[in-house]
Amino acid sequence: MRILLKNGRVIDPGRGVDETLDVLIEDGKISAVAVNIPKSAAESTYDLAGLIVAPGFIDIHVHLREPGREDKETIESGGRAAAAGGFTSVACMANTSPVNDNQSVTDFILAQAREKSPVNVFPIGALSKGLKGEQLSEIGDLVHRGAVAISDDGEPVASGFLMRKALEYARMFDIPVIAHEEEPSLANGGVMNEGFVSTLLGLRGMHAAAEEAMAYRDIRLAEVTGGRLHLAHISTAATVELVRTAKSRGVRVTAEATPHHFTLTDESVKGYDTNTKMKPPLRTAADRDAILEGLRDGTIDAVASDHAPHCQDEKDVEYDTAPFGIVGLETSVALGLEHLVATNLLPLKRFVELYSSGPARVLGLMKGTLAVGADADVTVFSVKKETTVDPARFRSRSRNTPFAGMKLRGAPLMTIVGGKVVHGAL
């Protein structure tokens, strides 16, 4: 099956391409990117005039909940949500039940994905057995079966010793160690950012320093060990600065930021909507602005959603009791287009980089490019189409979003994975 994408604005940041071109897909690979490829070259042609054709978007931080909590999400439903949101690949965290700390769980995830997910799924193995922060999991085994990184995300690694050993050990496989930076005793059971708003609302706060102190520790350990460190969902101005200076020193550190941290602040917690409860928490306007600057200047390598589906009844409780996390796969791209592109904060090329080649580089995936011969993973989007976030239409099994009803400029329109159209709204 040959597919021809005609007249789109092709943006391929890795190769410096930004011009109106045709893209020919053949046998699941990109077979030509050129001006005016004749329609006769393909069985199926899409005229994409006025739209952007980009390397398939990659979300390197999602929770698919399978195995264990299939009521919240499955690899299939999460995959559909990803495709609808413009993603061709996702990397899923290890905090499933059972935990992905052994090859049988990795095998299961990959088997489910092959059979049921419309998008590529890359498992992230647990850093420690059972995410307990005590003993390294069998990282070699996990990598051998297909894990692309290790992380105890959701459970901060309190032991500096274990984190050091993880960074040293993971070097053998050249995979990143993904860190959820939160020093537990400083976070002190907080449910939101500690600051004026937590004072006003009487909610227990977790101070920005809980993230920053551990981020500093881990950056220093990456420097000492030569390991690859990736900081998940960074949320404070000081963490952005830590990453910036570490990079300038040549430390092998990368970082991601989420759409909720570059769009919202802790002001959104007023009213006690549990859909504003996430980890790390929504921070101040100054922190949000620092995240935006980090996205602009290259300090932050990727946008990741931290898609964390939870059932409605788990969120319909008192703020203290609700689980942390929001869904993000179906809003991430549109939020990026609204807050990064429509605001002229970023050129389109940088935006595409943050969603495709940037995350591919973080995880060392052979993705994120439209080079001839590459897998035909393609995201087509509009910067003009206006949408309203409607959780009722989510493909995800969960609806926990603080963005319901929000009007956004820009939307993903077609998702192609391995040469197959898996989502199309054209």
């Binding site: 937590s198 609302l201 909610l203 706060g205 409780v317």
Partner: protein, 318 residues
């Protein structure tokens, strides 16, 4: 004039005029409590559920008494005897209570924002009787009533609030109320018990009792929870008392006619010396008395009445 909202979730959302309306209305109701027959038919036929998810004898009995004096039917529901201990969620509990069609739910909860959550799901008027470390609006109203009773006006007074500011629900409501009515508020306590950026609420912050008490018209002491000792908030009760306990010598730093308040229950010898707690300037028991009148006023106004309590008797069935 009426209250804008059918709920009383906090002081933050009230206007100064609404606060004054409640205080003025409470004055009419205070008179009822001095009568031989302390009961009016104002809320006859109305049902109030007292939903107390956290133990509170003082506030619960005060509300109960207020409800009884207004002839409402009231029902007590506490966490220890409720299906919450069997794992039922708050929303299911609320739906079950709602199915019995009460007019009011008076709610005490250990988590901040819980009454706001309930208000989204219930048709009844929700009265916040204290939520986590957030607000305790009727306490602030009864405090204001007591201050007004003793000092005539609130505007221009210097009010020193001393103790565990971080965990206090009373203090937030009091700051909102006292600032709205024009008082100067100064907070004192150890930095470990002071929430971040609290000065942005328009108050002064000090860690010196002398500074806080200097020229104060009102001294409002807050309860210290003994279990916080040894958890890093302060080294010992002894040291706390030495630094922040209200002694006779310290009271002398305040204005000669300063009044001393405490939301109760007091820890004698921890936050306040017995002689001071029982002394001539203590209005701690007046606060308890006034609590009933204030809560009657709140129930009355939320029932949609106009604030003229004197005419309440002439309108049986309301």
């Amino acid at each position: 004039m009426r209250l804008k909202s059918r709920h009383l979730l906090g002081i933050e959302s009230l206007t100064p005029e609404e606060i004054v309306l409640i205080l003025d209305t409470a004055e009419s109701f205070a008179e009822i409590s001095r009568r031989e027959i302390k009961k009016v038919p104002t809320l006859r036929g109305r049902t109030v559920v007292n939903l107390f998810m956290e133990p509170s004898t003082r506030t619960r009995t005060s509300f109960e008494l207020a409800e009884k004096r207004l002839s409402a039917d009231s029902l007590n529901f506490s966490a220890s005897s409720s299906s919450l201990v069997k794992g039922e969620t708050l929303i299911d509990t609320a739906r079950n209570i709602e199915a019995m069609a009460p007019d009011f739910i008076v709610m005490r909860h250990q988590m901040s924002g819980a009454p706001h959550f309930l208000a989204r799901y219930c048709r009844s008027s929700i009265i916040n009787a204290g939520d986590g470390s957030h607000e305790h609006p009727t306490q602030a109203l009864l405090d204001a009533y007591t201050i007004r009773q003793k000092k005539k006006a609130i505007a221009g007074l210097k009010v020193a609030i001393i103790g565990d500011i971080l965990h206090s629900r009373v203090v937030r409501s009091n700051i909102f109320l006292l600032r709205k009515l024009g008082a100067e508020v100064i907070l004192a306590g150890p930095p470990t018990l002071m929430p971040l950026e609290v000065a942005r609420l328009g108050v002064k912050v000090t860690h010196s009792m002398a500074e806080a008490l200097d020229g104060a018209d009102v001294i409002m002491m807050l309860r210290i929870q003994m279990e916080r000792q040894g958890k890093g908030y302060f080294p010992s009760v002894r040291e706390y008392y030495n630094l922040f306990g209200l002694t006779e010598e310290r009271v002398a730093l305040a204005k000669r006619d300063a009044i001393i308040m405490h939301p109760g229950p007091i820890n004698r010898g921890v936050e306040i010396e017995s002689k001071v707690a029982d002394g001539a300037y203590s209005v701690i028991l007046d606060q308890v008395t006034n609590g009933v009148a204030v809560r009657m006023a709140v129930l009355y106004l939320l029932a949609g009445e106009t604030g003229d309590a004197d005419s309440a008797e002439e309108r049986p069935g309301h």
